[in-house]
Symmetry: C2
Amino acid sequence: MVKNARVGQPNYFASGSINRSGNLRRDPGWLADRLANPRTRILPLHGSEVALVGGDLVWLEIGDLPAGQALGHDEEGVVFLGVDGKGGAVFGIDLSAPELVELDLPLPGDSSRTDLRGAAMLLAPDAGNHVAYLSAMLTWHRRHRWCGVCGRPTTPSWGGHLRTCSACGAEHFPRTDPVIIVLVTAGESCLLGRQPIWPARMWSALAGFVEPGESLEDAVAREVGEEVGVAVQEVVYHSSQPWPFPMSLMLGFHASAGPEPVNITVDRSELDDARWFARDGMAEAVADGSVMLPPPFSIARQLVDSWLTV
Amino acid sequence: MVKNARVGQPNYFASGSINRSGNLRRDPGWLADRLANPRTRILPLHGSEVALVGGDLVWLEIGDLPAGQALGHDEEGVVFLGVDGKGGAVFGIDLSAPELVELDLPLPGDSSRTDLRGAAMLLAPDAGNHVAYLSAMLTWHRRHRWCGVCGRPTTPSWGGHLRTCSACGAEHFPRTDPVIIVLVTAGESCLLGRQPIWPARMWSALAGFVEPGESLEDAVAREVGEEVGVAVQEVVYHSSQPWPFPMSLMLGFHASAGPEPVNITVDRSELDDARWFARDGMAEAVADGSVMLPPPFSIARQLVDSWLTV
């Protein structure tokens, strides 16, 4: 496993065991052969909802498809994820894709559907990576069926990792949106904000999309300036996390605003509120429920926890 | 200016002096008022080409427009960049936009057009940021004129920072593609590769797009594994850089492959060649031209230089 020098454990949703095998994506013959193999594994999602049985992912095999049904490697809703630890090809499918709704898949009778956040509370990290990867890919496909350059239909190839315009030939690659997320600290305090739609008492690190022409450090300074009117003095990278809501890449930082908390000016068009929290007493406030932090699978929580336990 | 704890100077193309003023983007009345002010400044690009006079950016003012000509804040090819240090609004325009080709702009007679790389060799960092920001925005507009969800036309708003589908209402925000770039080191050596299209003797750090479901550290490990067959053991973030070719975000790392150089297996479908370079003698090889490195404005060069001068 890759280790960032600053972080012992990969963040949830990252670092799965599937080898993406970029070269095999581009081999239509190999992909077709794998999709004809009854032992090839398939991970089914329904849009961004996950099928679970007893807290585990539902997997199917090509051999489970009813007689006469098959999947094409360049078909809408079919994505080649890579090769698993045993050398077997792994594909994902989108049961909500119009082209696949007729597919009569034998999902277990006791399977239930849950959204990605619910699944992240249940699934082991490796399974969490699989659903994050596939969900982001499927969202990208749904949002790029037509060419942004000329307005004509695009068609998938490379096992679902490329869409090409049928008219102008423009190539479209899977999109990932970089988002900075930052825990601002000042001495023994940290700055948390809350969005209006969040549950009461829920607080988190500040975050925002990186804009064209910005470095990550620029984006951190701009977001903190915009949202709470605070100037950051030192910006230190912590770790990153794929964030499939719907297809972001979270880039986590700690930033210092000086030795003592400074006055803040909350942008009420962005945040419901923001304030400084003293390190002393924070763990107790979380334990007794008077402060709610984001779930443990989120990089936001990792940024707070790593600061609390410095 | 923001300082990353690891890097004293911001990378070129980053950290410009324009305040993006996200809230003002959403105020059509304010934008219209600024575009009616004869002193409002305009930065003209022609696609991704920059107009220069004597090595400086060509700027225009609204008052320079011929009588009867005006710019709209929701017009194709017009982007609100932000507010400058004197409180004046700054807009960028794309002279290659079909809607603006009739605009009879009084560019200085001695101005010349150059591409972004050429401009980056000439322009001061602040001007370099302006053109990187605007060029990436204009590329995004050109590639998102139609809705990827439903294939109908999209129209710009928010001073060119949002496109909305005229039919399904889908919102499209400026895209930035995250790319990792990594200098792999082993003791006193670093690993550089070269692409087939590069000039002879040109070598650089390895790089590749981050894929959905990957952390940055995952992407570093995968790219290094794919391109040269080397397993990285420690992955340390260095800095980041907006990279307007055409609209990427470079995320720079150093990665260790162990105490001594290991055997490499070059993927010839990706690279022309790759090899280890000893630190000892590297500066001399660069000085005498037997090794060419990327230009000083690139994060690739910063990764190499910062390692050479450790």
